[in-house]
Structures are given as structure tokens and as C-alpha cells.
């Protein structure tokens, strides 16, 4: 029982991180109908920027305090992501309005290549580490409830809390602010939103900025867990089943989907893995999403698809 719960909690925490990646997809898809394959590259790019700035800024300014350097590096990396958002909107999306989904998807793959190339050129292609002072040692909880208690990775716990906080902030932003309302209007209907005077281009820029910030947070968390390296861009592929499971247009869907995928992956790896050989995590997530899709084609929380001729 204790072991099962441990796996479950581990899965939930991993799931929270998947949600974070999935959130980037959903934000952009909602507001612009673009399925952003570059989300993984954005995570990598943001993490690279963060890692490099946190070593460069102390050198440039002669800072001693690591915390201050990290904050400055975070801000600088955020600024870089805003710049990326502006360039993407200005140079790519603006020219591809009303194109087919597949074309847009390919364009974002192009963006992903460019980001990886620029990231490598500017920041170098070694493996870097991000140290934002995440606690590394595991802790035991609930020792008097179970024999031996539950072993929980503190780092995962902090990461999951940050992710949850970010999600709550985004929900507030979307529900309570004027910009958030405009974003939701654009998501509902581009043309109607434009006709009542919502500036489409600015909305897209904002959405890519928000996605950039989400990518940055995801990049910092994943980067401090795994180190910043080029394989980081494949976390996007981890986020995909989450998105289709939860529904492409639903923020709660991304969260719940992430949790389901996280738990499913961990449980399958632990209980099913030994039977059929290890390493099944990645395709299991996809199969899980597929099964859900067969039952609910629009995902768990997606808008109902209505067919009209």
C-alpha cells in the first residue's frame, strides 16, 4: 500500500510538470488555433537563456548574491522570451493567418529548428545546470500511518507547487483581467473578436509571451531536475498526450490530463513494465490518451465537435 501510494504521488508530481508543458500548447492553441510544436524548443531556449544568464550576470555586474543573480537571470530570460514572442508574431504568424492547421504546425516546427539553432549559437551546446536552490534530499512523511512511511522527493514537491501556483495565476489572469477576457474572446471567435475592436496581433503577441513565460518556468524546473541539454526539447513530446487527453482548448483539461498521464505512466512503468520490458512510459502515455480519445474524440474537457455540412 505504501509503495503504491508512493508511486501514485510520484506520478501526480510528474504529472504536474507535464501539465506545465501542456499548458503552453493549450494557451497558444486557444488563442490562435496554432498547434505549437515549438513549445519544446521554447522550453529548451528559455532554460538555456536562464542557465547562461545566471552565470554571465554575476560576471558582468560583479554580484555576489546567488539569489539576486538568479532573479536577474530569470528576468533577462523572460525578456528574451518576450522578444521571441514578438518576432514569432511579427515574422511568422502575421503572414499565415487563415492557413490550414497542418501548415501552421509545420511553421512552428520551422520555428523550433530556428530556436534550437539560435540557442546553440548564442548559448553554446554544452550541458549546463540551473541551480535555483531546489531542495534535493527526499523526505519521509506519514510515518505513523504506514510502516516505513512514504518517501517523497522534496524537489518534485516544490516543482509541483510552483506549477500549481502558476496555473492558479493563469486562471486568475484569464478570468479576471480585461486582457484575459479579450484572450478568451479571441479564442472563441477570431472574427467576432476583431469586429468589436480587439487587436488580434497584440493578443497573439501576449499569448506567445505568456506561453514563453510558462516555457521559462517549465525550463527552469526541468532544467534543474535534469540539467539543461538539447534533449530537453523532447519534453514537448511528453506534453502532447496530455494535451489531447485533456482537450486542446481547455486549461483545466491540461492539468487533469497531466495528472492522469503522470499517474498512468508511473503505475504502468512500475506494475506493467517488468512484465513486458522497461521503457514503456512514453508510448503508454500515448496509448492511454488514444483510449480516452476513442471514447471522447474532443478530449476530456474539449469543446464538443459539431459536424455540419
Amino acid at each position: 500500500m505504501g509503495f503504491f501510494l508512493e508511486t501514485l504521488i510520484g506520478g501526480l508530481m510528474a504529472g504536474m510538470l507535464y501539465s506545465l508543458v501542456a499548458l503552453g500548447f493549450v494557451l497558444i492553441f486557444k488563442a490562435s488555433g496554432v498547434f505549437n510544436f515549438a513549445q519544446g524548443a521554447m522550453v529548451l531556449f528559455a532554460a538555456l537563456a536562464m542557465a547562461r544568464f545566471s552565470t554571465w550576470i554575476p560576471q558582468w555586474l560583479g554580484l555576489e548574491s546567488a539569489a539576486l543573480a538568479n532573479v536577474l537571470a530569470f528576468l533577462a530570460a523572460g525578456a528574451v522570451m518576450f522578444l521571441v514572442a514578438w518576432l514569432v508574431e511579427r515574422l511568422v504568424l502575421r503572414h499565415l493567418v487563415n492557413q490550414e492547421g497542418a501548415t501552421l504546425l509545420m511553421a512552428t516546427l520551422g520555428i523550433a529548428y530556428i530556436l534550437e539553432g539560435i540557442g546553440g549559437t548564442l548559448f553554446g551546446s554544452d550541458i549546463y545546470k540551473i541551480d535555483v536552490g531546489m531542495p534535493k534530499e527526499p523526505v519521509m512523511i506519514l510515518e505513523h500511518v504506514f510502516d516505513g512511511g512514504l518517501l517523497i522527493n522534496k524537489e518534485d514537491f516544490v516543482a509541483a507547487s510552483i506549477a500549481a501556483l502558476l496555473v492558479a495565476l493563469l486562471a486568475l489572469f484569464f478570468q479576471k483581467t480585461t486582457t484575459g477576457r479579450a484572450l478568451r474572446a479571441v479564442a472563441d471567435d477570431h472574427q467576432a473578436a476583431q469586429s468589436i475592436g480587439i487587436p488580434l496581433h497584440r493578443i497573439w503577441f501576449i499569448v506567445w509571451c505568456v506561453a514563453g513565460v510558462v516555457a521559462l518556468v517549465a525550463g527552469v524546473i526541468w532544467g534543474s531536475k535534469l540539467g539543461v541539454q538539447f534533449s530537453l526539447s523532447t519534453v514537448a513530446l511528453r506534453g502532447l498526450p496530455v494535451v489531447i487527453l485533456g482537450g486542446l482548448t481547455s486549461i483545466p483539461g491540461a492539468i487533469i490530463g497531466g495528472l492522469i498521464i503522470g499517474v498512468g505512466e508511473k503505475l504502468s512503468e512500475v506494475y506493467l513494465g517488468p512484465l513486458i520490458g522497461g521503457g514503456i512510459e512514453i508510448w503508454f502515455a500515448y496509448q492511454l490518451a488514444l483510449v480516452f480519445l476513442l471514447l471522447r474524440p474532443q478530449g476530456l474537457f474539449g469543446e464538443k465537435i459539431i459536424d455540419r455540412v
Partner: protein, 358 residues
């Protein structure tokens, strides 16, 4: 002036329905084919054959398959690499486990296996479509990646999933030299391209296109979506699977699952989108673009760097390649979203009016 169908009267149904109704097209395609079969083996050196022409031919075949599914039937797939892998490994198993199995037959059987797997992974297309389907097909990709890496039976218990074939021959014709390989691939591609061209203008191709344009409307006028979608998946996977078998047997001759990774799937989708969705010709253009561009960049970037006095390191070159490749893709998508095939047909229209456009 030269490219004009004036005076070419169609006096029978057979004339009207032939593959290339315009005589100039017919003759130039024929000339090109003859040149590819006879001229190129005489003129071209081994490097060009091995590095450019053979990959181009094989990937054209794969792009054809992807185009049947994405361009003609409208089902986006990101799992093409998976079906290449299935084709390659199935062909390998038929070839190595059954002694005396003819090479062509084992490749065809590899294609058939890929088609069956394709039908299985095509089932979600009956429920979901568009981007959801695209992600669903990624399931096929990751599943096959895992199977060929972790299940030793498929790779004949070879460590790391790497397998190799040798001593390929058809009726005593040894396929060892690049020229032989080239001719074999070319022959294969010619047959299947012709087949695809004819399929797309026959009843089944029209069903695919009807499903692509509006699946509910197609259903209303009596097209069975189940048959149309799954047949598109089957035919497409067959093409992609045989291309995978060719890629493994002829081009690489020793390969591991990484040869058919998700990057390959993206690459194939790039080919059909840049080449032109729903165009046989476009598959060739796209394959040429994607095969040749990285080689050209790789050759010319260091030279270009030296020209402006920069000494670019190898890592720098590979990063610059990524940037330029990505930018060119975006440029093409913005300038001509319908692909190179559209440029080609616009060019042909212009040529018909030349030199008196008004």
C-alpha cells in the same frame, strides 16, 4: 509557344482519359524517365548516387505514401517513420527467417505488414480528426520505436536492435554497386508512382478526396468513411513500408531503430507540405528539396564563412544549418502555402501563354 495543346484533338475516350493529356508533358516525362534509366548511370559518379540520388528516390516513394494519406485523404499523420520501420523490420524478418525468400517478395510482404499495422493505427481516424489525429498517430511512432528496441525477436536477438542484410540479388542480378542500387530503386519508384497516379484518379482516389474535402458530406452521398479512410491508411502505409524496406536494405544495409525516429516522420510531412499536398509531382519536389538542402548547406556554409573571413566551427555550421533550414521552411510556407507543385503549375500556365500573355 512550344508548350501549347493547340491542334491536339481528342477523338476518343481513351485519348481524353490518358495519364498526361498534353503531348508535350507526355514526351518530356518519357524523356526524363529514359534519361533517369540510361543517362544518369552513365554520367553520374558514385558519391552523387549514394548521397543524393538513392535517398531522393526512396524518400520520394515514402513521401508519395504520406501524400496519399495527408494530401489526398486529409488525415494528418506524424507516424510515417513508424511505418517505414515496420516495413524495414518486417522485410528483414521475411528475408532472413525464410531461406530462399526472393528479395522483391520479402519487400512487398514488408509493405503488406506495414499496411496491416497502418490499418490498425488508422482506426482512431474514424473517431478523431485533424490535429488530434496527428498526435494519435504519434502513438504508432513511439510504440514501434519501443518494440524494435526492446523486443528482441523482431531484430533476431541482435543487441541494440541493429540488423544488417547482405548479398542482395534478384534472379542472379547482384545489387551491390551504387549503380545497381540506383536502378533498383528507380524501377521500384517508377512502378509505384505510376500506380499511385492512377489510383488517385480512379474511384478510390476520388473517394479519398471526397473524404478530405468534407467527410460528412461524403458520407451523405454514399461514400463509406470506414473503407475510404482505412484504405488510405493501408495504401499509404504500404508505400511508406516498402520505402522503409528499401531504405534499410538498399540504402543503409545495416540499420537500427533510430533510422526511423520521429524526426523522419516530421521530415516526411515536411516533404509533402513543401512539395504540395495532393500532388504526385509535389512529393518528388518535396523530397528533392529536403534531401538536397542539408547537403548543399553543409557544403557551402563553411566556404561562405571563409569568404567573409569567419571561421565557422562544426557545431556552428550545424546550428546555422538548423536556422537556415527552419527559416527556409517558414519562408516557403508563407510565400507558397500550396507547395512547390503550385509554383510548377503556375509556371506551366504562364508558359502556355508565352510569349503573348494578353
Amino acid at each position: 509557344m512550344l508548350y501549347r495543346e493547340n491542334g491536339q484533338f481528342k477523338t476518343s475516350y481513351a485519348d481524353d482519359q490518358q495519364l498526361f493529356p498534353i503531348a508535350q508533358d507526355r514526351w518530356s516525362i518519357l524523356a526524363l524517365t529514359v534519361f533517369a534509366f540510361i543517362g544518369i548511370p552513365l554520367l553520374v559518379d558514385e558519391y552523387l548516387l549514394r548521397a543524393i540520388l538513392i535517398p531522393f528516390l526512396i524518400l520520394s516513394l515514402a513521401a508519395l505514401g504520406v501524400n496519399i494519406l495527408v494530401g489526398y485523404c486529409g488525415q494528418i499523420t506524424l507516424g510515417a517513420g513508424a511505418f517505414m520501420a515496420v516495413g524495414a523490420y518486417a522485410a528483414y524478418n521475411f528475408h532472413s527467417r525464410l531461406p530462399g525468400m526472393p528479395l522483391v517478395l520479402s519487400m512487398l510482404l514488408g509493405g503488406v505488414t506495414a499496411a496491416l499495422v497502418g490499418i490498425f493505427f488508422g482506426i482512431p481516424s474514424l473517431r478523431v480528426r485533424g490535429l488530434y489525429l496527428a498526435v494519435a498517430t504519434l502513438a504508432a511512432q513511439f510504440f514501434t520505436d519501443w518494440v524494435f528496441l526492446r523486443v528482441p525477436w523482431f531484430t533476431d536477438h541482435a543487441a541494440s536492435g541493429s540488423v544488417s542484410v547482405s548479398n542482395l540479388q534478384i534472379l542472379g542480378w547482384q545489387i551491390a554497386e551504387p549503380v545497381d542500387k540506383y536502378l533498383f530503386c528507380l524501377f521500384w519508384l517508377t512502378v509505384f508512382a505510376l500506380l499511385a497516379k492512377n489510383m488517385t484518379r480512379s474511384a478510390i482516389g476520388r473517394q479519398w478526396m471526397a473524404i478530405r474535402d468534407m467527410d460528412v458530406a461524403a458520407e451523405v452521398i454514399g461514400i463509406r468513411p470506414l473503407f475510404a479512410k482505412l484504405s488510405a491508411f493501408a495504401v499509404s502505409s504500404f508505400y511508406v513500408g516498402t520505402a522503409g524496406a528499401l531504405w534499410g536494405f538498399i540504402h543503409l544495409s545495416s540499420w537500427e531503430p533510430a533510422a526511423f525516429s520521429v524526426d523522419r516522420s516530421f521530415q516526411l510531412l515536411f516533404m509533402v507540405i513543401i512539395g504540395g499536398l495532393g500532388s504526385i509531382m509535389g512529393s518528388f519536389f518535396g523530397a528533392a528539396f529536403i534531401v538536397i538542402l542539408p547537403i548543399v548547406l553543409n557544403q557551402f556554409l563553411p566556404a561562405l564563412g571563409r569568404l567573409v573571413g569567419l571561421n565557422i566551427s562544426t557545431a556552428g555550421v550545424s546550428h546555422a544549418e538548423l536556422i537556415i533550414f527552419g527559416s527556409l521552411i517558414i519562408f516557403f510556407l508563407i510565400k507558397e502555402p500550396h507547395g512547390i507543385a503550385r509554383l510548377w503549375s503556375t509556371g506551366k500556365e504562364k508558359l502556355r501563354l508565352w510569349p503573348f500573355p494578353h
